[in-house]
């Protein structure tokens, strides 16, 4: 009887297990920070600030998750973000239209995705090299456009930048007795919409299921009748599009273009996806996990700063240590499960 029960209950898949671990660790970390560090962590605004600062990272990580589930890699996302920021600032400052600048952002992202997708899926060149070239090109173009920082002066854009969603009942009372509402930027809404969109795509749309199939086993997905080349092409196209969106969101957050914008963002995005339970080998991953992965990655940085480790090197060393912990944990957990499967 007992055995039957165990068999009837569907076991967690690898994806769900890794995601659950990440979410649990994030919650534990945040609650510990609330209990031990107090200060800002007790206000909802702290969580909102995390989202405000990292909206574009979340969007980029979603795109990377799609590519990684399909068994590829895209390391150009940070550079494309930076190029989009710079082009949009220059376009707006020369009297461009706000709506057209959004289209420009999407267009640049799509163009990069198009070229990457074509080279990787139809010419069968290694994705690492293709997107590395894309990264070099985008970074080079950014400095060719302008090597000096550019501040956006467009009126309509400034209004958009300052528009924030205020939620009074989540706010807190400051020392002088004023109620400060919790503020959330529009970019965060865009980021959340992207997460939901990608979640639906991966879970309920046949294209999304195709990504998993392709990443899990290319030959058998071909035999199932999936157009592998087209699916792979679309995964890079989506990643490019999301980097374009991320560029505009980044601009809405900073309001200025700089050649060093979004430096090493691709590695942060890869780290977020990995912490969220996506495997680089493909076929395993979940965008909700990626979302919490980004939050975990950025929370640890905030905790290091608030806990008084002021030397500039600690932030990155702890990030590296945490990454090491997560990677080892995943490896051990997955291997244990494999062993159990074999013994069954």
């Amino acid at each position: 009887m007992k055995n039957q029960n165990r068999q009837r209950r569907e076991p967690l898949t690898d994806t769900q297990l890794l995601m659950t671990i990440t979410i649990c660790i994030f919650l534990a970390m945040y609650i510990l920070a609330m209990l031990l560090l107090k200060g800002g962590f007790l206000h909802v605004q702290q969580l909102f600030d995390l989202l405000n600062d990292n909206a574009s990272l979340i969007i980029v990580s979603c795109g990377l998750t799609i590519v990684m589930i399909g068994g590829g890699i895209d390391i150009s996302v940070g550079a494309v973000t930076s190029l989009v920021v710079m082009s949009c600032v220059l376009f707006l400052n020369r009297g461009g239209n706000l709506f057209l600048s959004v289209l420009l952002a999407l267009g640049i992202g799509l163009a990069f995705g198009l070229v990457h997708g074509f080279l990787v899926s139809y010419l069968e060149i290694q994705p690492f090299i293709v997107t590395l070239a894309g990264m070099f090109f985008a970074r080079g173009m950014t400095t060719i456009l302008s090597i000096d920082p550019q501040k956006a002066t467009h009126e309509g854009f400034k209004k958009l930048q300052e528009a924030k969603i205020e939620i009074p009942w989540l706010g807190y009372v400051a020392k002088n007795g004023n109620l400060i509402p919790a503020r959330m930027e529009i970019g965060v809404v865009v980021a959340l919409l992207c997460v939901i969109g990608v979640f639906i795509l991966l879970k309920y749309v046949s294209l999304g299921r195709g990504f998993y199939a392709m990443g899990g086993n290319q030959t058998s997905s071909l035999m199932l009748g999936i157009n592998v080349k087209k699916t792979r092409f679309l995964s890079y196209l989506l990643s490019g599009l999301l980097s374009g969106i991320s560029g505009f969101v980044f601009l809405m957050h900073t309001g200025a273009g700089n050649a060093t914008n979004a430096a090493a963002m691709e590695m942060d995005a890869i780290a977020s996806s990995i912490i969220g339970g996506t495997l680089l080998t493909g076929g395993v991953g979940n965008v909700v996990g990626t979302f919490f992965g980004t939050l975990t990655l950025t929370t640890i940085k905030k905790i290091v700063v608030s806990s008084g480790l002021n030397d500039p090197w600690w932030q990155k060393i702890t990030t590296g240590g945490m990454l090491c912990f997560f990677i080892l944990l995943q490896s051990v957990v997955l291997r244990q499960r494999e062993k159990r499967k074999k013994s069954n």
């Binding site: 890699i73 010419l123 690492f128 590395l132 990264m135 070099f136 990155k316 060393i317 590296g320």
Partner: protein
């Protein structure tokens, strides 16, 4: 037998075709652009030594760190089917250790330099075996495993330096970084030659090359044949560690200071690129060390050519990207197949036309 030799020759040349074509194209381009680009002169430098100077020398000299790293990267790529993206950060750590030991006592003698270099080697090998353990024992993909050190490596170097960028000035260090008095060839070039000979000897007198390739081609088959795959993978990372220490030491000696943020910045990407341009598969398996070394010189030659065309150092990346894409597209199997088909069709058409012409006549 003769045919077999021909076949082997053809296949090995086929792999080297892309980097050699790239170098030939760059040379032709430069000859058309400015024949003076290749002038090599013998001039007296500040220390009063006769030294070789010219664009070609600066290409060969400047690519030294990249060439050394590309050699190690080739081994890791071949054995593990993945790349180490932490070499730049690890080189910063090795350089910091080198400077730390050099500064630990008064006066920099040859013996202290040797001790400092050995210490840097040891530290780099420890970090290499950390990466190697993650890859070989915990079965994590190399890029993910080395992402850890990539993230925190330069901060560890910063920590070793105590938040400063210390300088070292000594004739010994200058000799390593630029010229040994009396020898007109830059020392880094000599170091690259020495490293190449070391690798060749290693391949000649051990089965490392064969074992690495078989582990890369089919790990489980290699294990069943009695090869310790874990050890081979670990060893490839440790050898890369030695390469990292050598490259870091050259970089520090060149400038006479250690700057953890800028030392060998972004070199991991160039090193992987050198391996790919050299015709090696990034998925592991068969490899050719000479391809990667030529690949490193292709990258440096491209960079110096762009500098000579007055492209600023930050903009170089965009042009480099275009050339890389062209190179990899030419090298891609799909392109080769399509191109071959088109050539055949044209040839057939021509033959057909000639036959028709002959019939008419």
């Amino acid at each position: 037998m003769k045919e077999r030799i021909k076949k082997v020759f053809k296949s090995s040349l086929g792999q080297l075709a892309i980097p050699l074509i790239a170098i030939a194209l760059l040379i032709i381009f430069n000859l058309i652009r400015d024949p003076g680009f290749f002038v090599i002169g013998l001039t007296q430098n500040n220390d009063g030594n006769l030294v070789l100077q010219g664009n070609l020398i600066s290409i060969i000299n400047g690519a030294s760190e990249l060439a050394v790293l590309a050699m190690g990267m080739t081994l890791v790529t071949a054995a593990c089917g993945g790349q180490d993206i932490s070499v730049g950060a690890a080189a910063a750590i090795a350089g910091s250790v080198l400077v730390k030991v050099l500064k630990s006592g008064s006066g920099i003698t040859g013996g202290r330099v040797l001790a400092a270099f050995l210490m840097a080697c040891l530290v780099a090998m420890i970090f290499g075996s950390f990466n190697g353990t993650l890859v070989a024992i915990f079965k994590i993909q190399p890029m993910i495993a080395t992402l850890i050190l990539y993230t925190c490596g330069r901060s560890i170097a910063y920590w070793i330096n105590g938040g400063a960028t210390p300088t070292v000035s000594s004739p010994v260090i200058t000799a390593i970084g630029s010229f040994i008095p009396g020898i007109p060839v830059p020392t880094p070039v000599l170091i690259v030659i020495a490293m190449t000979i070391l690798f060749k000897l290693l391949f000649r007198f051990t089965s490392l090359e064969l074992f690495t390739q078989s582990v890369g081609i089919n790990g489980s088959a290699a294990r069943l044949n009695g090869i310790n795959t874990t050890f081979i993978k670990l060893l490839s990372f440790i050898i890369l560690g030695v390469c990292v220490a050598v490259a870091g030491s050259i970089g520090v000696s060149r400038l006479g200071l250690i700057n953890h943020e800028t030392l060998l910045l972004d070199i991991e990407m160039d090193a992987i690129l050198a391996v790919a341009i050299g015709g090696n598969s990034l998925g592991g398996g068969r490899f050719k060390l000479s391809g990667s070394i030529i690949g490193a010189y292709v990258i440096q030659m491209l960079t110096i050519t762009l500098y000579a065309m007055k492209v600023s150092s930050t903009d170089v990346k965009a042009y480099k990207a275009i050339v890389i894409v062209i190179l990899v597209v030419i090298g891609s199997p799909v392109f080769k197949e399509k191109f071959g088909k088109t050539v055949n069709r044209i040839r057939n058409n021509r033959n057909g036309l000639m036959e028709k012409g002959a019939e008419k006549a």
